[in-house]
Amino acid sequence: MAAAPSIAPSISGETLTAFLLRLADDHLVLGHRLSEWCGHAPMLEEDLAMPNMALDLIGQARSLYQYAGEVEGKGRDEDQIAYVRREREYVNCLMAERQNGDFAHTMLRQFYFAALMLPLWQAMMTSTDERLAGIAAKAEKEVAYHIRHAGEWVVRLGDGTEESTRRMKAAVEALAPYVDELFESDDVTRAVAEAGIAPDPSTLRPAFDAIVGPVFAEAGLEWVETPYGQTGGRQGRHGEALGFLLAELQYMQRTYPGMTW
């Protein structure tokens, strides 16, 4: 294994690991969700698009898990972190684990997540942490495609037929409680922001709105205010859906520990 990486002196390895795991879990869990569409998408092109985007997300997750494992310094590699942690140890945002629902639901979730990640990666390209700056510079280009792709579908379905509009509106309604959690700040995000590693998510809301706003306007969709948002993912409190996802994701390593092929 590589020597312990040099991290900014202004942050503890523990805090940086916590931050990396959140980001990595978001990408792995959402990537797995997208991969569930493989073979089930409404058309062949989308059957290619979803696993393609899943590959991007899982690739990004791998880079982040590898780095988290090195910073943590307990000798865990990417597979051990991904495959043998329990549900309560996962710290992804709740939106990432939401069930796919219909195609409109999946596309809106993807659009929201990409609209969060684009400004986040862009800011991290000048991170004080060189390793993360490198990961961000690649990911930023990939996520720009996700925004285009998902954004086009939000418009096509939102401004489509009576049925597609109804479904896209239902997706906006269903995902509304999970948006605010994306922008939460706590001790971890503040420490990371102070060290110049990544911006605090609370500062990204205007950039998110600037991406979502015009697409919603073109799609004829209206923003739904939700009386209270769902939260807890960053503390390991998840919805029922994550357990089923992890059961499938981790099955092989749980059954045949340490297996490779």
Binding site: I58, Q60, I135, R148, H149
Partner: protein
């Protein structure tokens, strides 16, 4: 093959020793497993080969973070170096990030001849969210083309069709 003495942007690279040159040529001849018409040097994903004592160290960068061909490429480079008589080591580098600008002029021409439209600059701009990129048909050269899908058979390609000669074709996405 591109001149081994300069990188895609024409910057001169430090002169190589005879051994290094031979190792570079061996690694540079490895072809992309998904697009066998181009070598990894054409694609600009071979960042360099240096001798570390008796070990030939090849630095390779992925096109996309999750590209499943990365392992196959790294193995092929290792094999090529071994066959050329070197003890190989392959290092994966991600910085500076690969972009389609790293594809050499020769590489772009090979892609076109193979039936894949080479990347058009600045087509990935967010401002172009709903703007269409003008992609020339690799067969007949017509600009009357339409995008079928943003994502093709591999992460790096999109699907297009030509309205003039009616052939579908792959477009190497600009990132």
């Amino acid at each position: 093959m591109q001149s081994p003495s300069s990188d895609p942007s024409g910057h001169l690279l430090p002169a190589r020793g005879e051994k290094e040159e031979r190792a570079y040529r061996a690694a540079a001849a490895v072809v992309d497993p998904e697009i066998p018409a181009v070598t990894i040097a054409d694609l600009g994903i071979l960042r360099g080969v240096e001798m570390d004592g008796d070990v030939a160290v090849a630095r390779v960068t992925p096109t996309y973070t999750g590209c499943p061909a990365v392992l196959a490429i790294e193995l092929a480079v290792e094999t090529a170096l071994r066959e050329a008589g070197f003890e190989p080591r392959v290092e994966r580098v991600i910085s500076p990030a690969w972009t389609t600008d790293w594809i050499t002029a020769v590489g772009r021409e090979k892609l076109r001849a193979y039936g894949i439209a080479p990347p058009v600059k600045a087509s990935n701009s967010i401002r172009a969210l709903f703007g269409e990129t003008e992609v020339a048909c690799p067969r007949c050269g017509s600009l009357e083309t339409a995008r079928i899908s943003e994502f093709g058979s591999t992460a790096c390609k999109a699907l297009y069709r030509c309205q003039s000669c009616h052939e579908p074709f792959d477009y190497f996405k600009c990132i």
